[in-house]
C-alpha cells in the first residue's frame, strides 16, 4: 500500500514539474525586464501601454456582449429542447460540435463573404464579431446550460410552477435561472476566456482586440509578452477559481436540484 502511495507521489511530482517548470521559467524571464536586476519592469511597461488597456477593454466589452447574446439564444433553445423537442437533442449536439471541427479561419471567411455586400453589409459592425464569438463559444455555453438543466427536474419544476399559476416569465426568472446559477457562471467565464484570447476573427475582421495585441507584442518585444502570458494565465486561473468558489458557496441551494429523486 505504501509503495503504491510512493509511486503516486512520484508521478504527482513529475506532473507538477511538467506544468510548473515552464511556467516558473516564463515568470523568471518576465522579471528580467530591467538589465541585471529582477523587477516587475516588464509588467509596468505592459500596464503603461495605452494599447493594452484599450484592446483589453474592447475585448472585455465584446466578451460581455457575447455572453449576453449567447445565453439569450441558447438558454431558451435548450429549455425548449428539454421540454418539447427531445428528438432535436442529437441534432443540436452535433451542431454544437461544429465550431471544434471547422477552423475559425473558415468561419471568418464565410462571414466576410456573406456579410460584405448588400443586403447584409455587416463586416464593419462589431455585431458580426459578436456573432462569430457566439458561434465559437456555442459548444461551451450549450454544454454548461444542458448540464445545468439536466441537474434539475426541469419538467417537474415548470409544471409545479404552472399549476401554481405562474407564467413562463416567472418560471424562467424565479425557478429555472436561479437553479442553474452555477452552470450559467461557468458558461459565462468560459466564454469570457475564449473571447479575451481570440485571435483569428479579430484580426480578419480588423478589430483592435486583445488577442491581436498579444500577438503583436509577442512579435516585436521580448519580456513584455512573457509578462502578458503570466497575466493571462493568472486571469484564467482566477476565473476558474471563481467558478469553483461560486459552485461551492451556491452548493447549499443548488446541490438539492433534482434531489427530489
Amino acid at each position: 500500500m505504501s509503495a503504491r502511495r510512493g509511486w503516486a507521489w512520484l508521478w504527482m511530482f513529475f506532473g507538477f514539474l511538467y506544468f510548473f517548470v515552464p511556467l516558473a521559467a516564463t515568470f523568471m524571464f518576465s522579471l528580467h525586464g530591467k538589465k541585471g536586476v529582477l523587477s516587475f519592469a516588464a509588467y509596468q511597461r505592459v500596464f503603461a501601454d495605452p494599447q493594452f488597456l484599450r484592446t483589453f477593454s474592447f475585448s472585455f466589452e465584446m466578451a460581455l456582449c457575447t455572453i449576453v447574446v449567447g445565453l439569450a439564444l441558447i438558454i431558451p433553445t435548450v429549455i425548449w429542447i428539454h421540454l418539447r423537442a427531445p428528438w432535436a437533442k442529437p441534432i443540436v449536439e452535433t451542431f454544437s460540435l461544429l465550431p471544434f471541427v471547422i477552423p475559425p479561419i473558415v468561419l471568418v471567411f464565410g462571414l466576410i463573404r456573406m456579410y460584405s455586400a448588400p443586403p447584409f453589409q455587416l463586416v464593419s459592425s462589431p455585431a458580426l464579431l459578436v456573432a462569430g464569438y457566439v458561434v465559437l463559444s456555442f459548444p461551451y455555453i450549450y454544454r454548461a446550460v444542458d448540464a445545468g438543466l439536466r441537474a434539475m427536474d426541469l419538467r417537474g419544476l415548470t409544471e409545479a410552477a404552472q399549476s401554481l399559476g405562474a407564467s413562463w416569465g416567472t418560471i424562467m426568472f424565479k425557478i429555472v435561472l436561479p437553479n442553474m446559477r452555477v452552470s450559467l457562471l461557468s458558461a459565462a467565464f468560459l466564454t469570457f476566456s475564449i473571447v479575451i484570447g481570440e485571435l483569428t476573427l479579430a484580426v480578419m475582421l480588423a478589430w483592435p482586440a486583445f488577442g491581436p495585441y498579444m500577438a503583436l507584442v509577442g512579435r516585436d518585444l521580448a519580456y513584455e509578452p512573457t509578462a502578458l502570458a503570466i497575466l493571462s494565465f493568472l486571469l484564467t486561473w482566477g476565473l476558474i477559481g471563481l467558478i469553483q468558489f461560486a459552485s461551492r458557496s451556491l452548493a447549499s441551494s443548488s446541490s438539492a436540484v433534482g434531489g427530489a429523486h
Binding site: A160, Q162, S163, L164, G165, I175, N179, S254, G259, A260
Partner: protein, 365 residues
C-alpha cells in the same frame, strides 16, 4: 351537474390510444382515485385535467366550464407530484408563498395563509428549511401545503407516496385524507397501490389500457368487482380451475370435489371456468358446518403480523387462506391434510379466459 366532468376523453400518441373514451363525473368535495397498473392511462388522464396534456377528443369541465382550451396556469387546478417538485432555491415558506405571490395576494393575507398551511402540515418549525434539508415525507407535506395554499378548485395528486418508505406512506396517507376532508377539496388521486386507493377514496376508478374497468366505492369494488380483471387487481385472489356441473344451480367441480356458488353460473354444462376466492373468506374446517368444503394439504404457513396466511395445495394449485393472528392459535402441522370451508357467497366464477377484459364475471351473490 357534477363539479368536475370528463366526457369521452381520448388521448392518442401517434396511433396508440393511451386514454380511450374516459367519462367520469366527480362531485364537489369528493375524493376519487384512479387505480391501475403502469401504462393504464391514469397519469395521462390526470395530466389532461391539469392541462399538461391536451386531449385528442372529448371535453373536460369544471363547474360546467370547458377547461381544455385554458392554459395550465389559469385552471385553478393544484397538483402534487411523485417526486415533490419543490423549488430547490426556496425555503419551505417561500415555496408555499410562491403561488400566493403569483396571484398577487396582499402581503398580510399571504403571510397569514402561509402560517395556516404550515400549521396544517405541522411544519411550523421547518419553515426556513430548504428542500434538500428535509426528508422525503416532509418534502411531500410541504408540496401538499404549497398546492393547497392558493385554494385550487381541484387538487390532483400523482402517486404522491410512491417514493416514500412504508411507515411514512401510511402516516401521510392518513394525513392527506384528513386534510382533504377538513378542506372539502375535490381531489383526484392517482395510484397503482390498491391499499392506498381502498383506504383513501370515496370512489375508485379502476383503469386498464386506457379504459375504465369499473367505478365504485371501495366496498363495491372489493366485494362486487365488475369483471375478472377488477377482481384480480384488487386484493389477493385465489384462482382455481373448475368445470361446470350444473349452470342453473351453480354447481362446479374443483379438483374432483364439488363446490356450489350462490346463484346460477353464466356458462355451459361441462365448460371450464375459473373459481376465484378471497383468502379472508376461507377458513379451516373441523366439522361440516360450511356450505362448501375442499380437501387439501397445508403446504406452508406465512406469518404476516396481524394475519397468518396458510398456503394450501388443492389439485395442483396453491390457495391462500388468511386468518387473524391470536396468541394461542393452534395451527395444523405443515404437510398435514386440511379441509377448508367457505360460504357460497364467496364464489366468484369467471369464464376460463379469466383475465380477458370482456370476460364477464357472473358473480354468484
Amino acid at each position: 351537474m357534477a363539479f368536475l366532468e370528463l366526457d369521452g376523453v381520448v388521448k392518442r400518441f401517434g396511433r396508440l390510444a393511451v386514454v380511450d373514451g374516459f367519462s367520469l363525473a366527480v362531485e364537489e368535495g369528493e375524493f376519487v382515485s384512479f387505480l391501475g397498473g403502469s401504462g393504464c392511462g391514469k397519469t395521462t388522464t390526470l395530466r389532461m385535467v391539469a392541462g399538461f396534456e391536451t386531449p385528442t377528443e372529448g371535453s373536460i369541465r369544471i363547474s360546467g366550464t370547458e377547461i381544455v382550451p385554458v392554459a395550465p396556469n389559469k385552471r385553478g387546478v393544484g397538483m402534487v407530484f411523485q417526486n415533490y417538485a419543490l423549488f430547490p432555491n426556496m425555503t419551505v415558506r417561500r415555496n408555499i408563498e410562491f403561488g400566493l405571490k403569483v396571484a398577487r395576494w396582499n402581503p398580510a393575507e399571504s403571510r397569514q395563509r402561509v402560517e395556516e398551511m404550515l400549521a396544517l402540515i405541522h411544519m411550523e418549525d421547518l419553515a426556513e428549511r430548504y428542500p434538500h434539508q428535509m426528508s422525503g415525507g416532509q418534502q411531500q407535506r410541504a408540496a401538499l401545503a404549497r398546492a393547497l395554499a392558493v385554494r385550487p378548485r381541484v387538487l390532483l395528486l400523482d402517486e404522491p407516496l410512491s417514493a416514500l418508505d412504508a411507515k411514512i406512506r401510511g402516516q401521510l396517507r392518513t394525513e392527506i385524507r384528513a386534510i382533504q376532508q377538513k378542506l372539502g377539496i375535490t381531489t383526484i388521486y392517482v395510484t397503482h397501490d390498491q391499499e392506498e386507493a381502498l383506504s383513501l377514496s370515496d370512489r375508485i376508478v379502476v383503469m386498464r389500457t386506457g379504459r375504465i374497468e369499473q367505478v365504485g366505492t371501495p366496498f363495491e369494488i372489493y366485494n362486487h368487482p365488475a369483471n375478472a380483471f377488477v377482481a384480480s387487481f384488487i386484493g389477493q385472489l385465489n384462482v382455481l380451475d373448475a368445470t361446470v356441473l350444473d349452470p342453473g344451480l351453480g354447481r362446479l367441480a374443483v379438483a374432483g370435489q364439488e363446490v356450489r356458488a350462490a346463484g346460477p353460473v353464466a356458462a355451459e354444462l361441462g365448460q371450464a371456468v375459473k373459481l376465484s376466492l378471497r383468502p379472508e373468506m376461507l377458513s379451516l374446517e373441523t366439522g361440516d358446518s360450511a356450505a362448501n368444503r375442499l380437501e387439501g394439504t397445508l403446504a406452508n404457513v406465512v406469518f404476516l403480523g396481524s394475519i397468518v396466511r396458510m398456503v394450501i395445495a388443492i389439485g395442483g394449485r396453491e390457495l391462500f387462506l388468511d386468518q387473524f393472528n391470536a396468541p394461542h392459535l393452534a395451527l395444523p402441522a405443515v404437510g398435514s391434510a386440511v379441509r377448508i370451508g367457505f360460504p357460497r357467497e364467496a364464489c366468484l366464477v369467471t369464464l376460463a379466459e379469466a383475465l380477458d377484459p370482456e370476460a364477464s364475471l357472473s358473480k354468484a351473490i
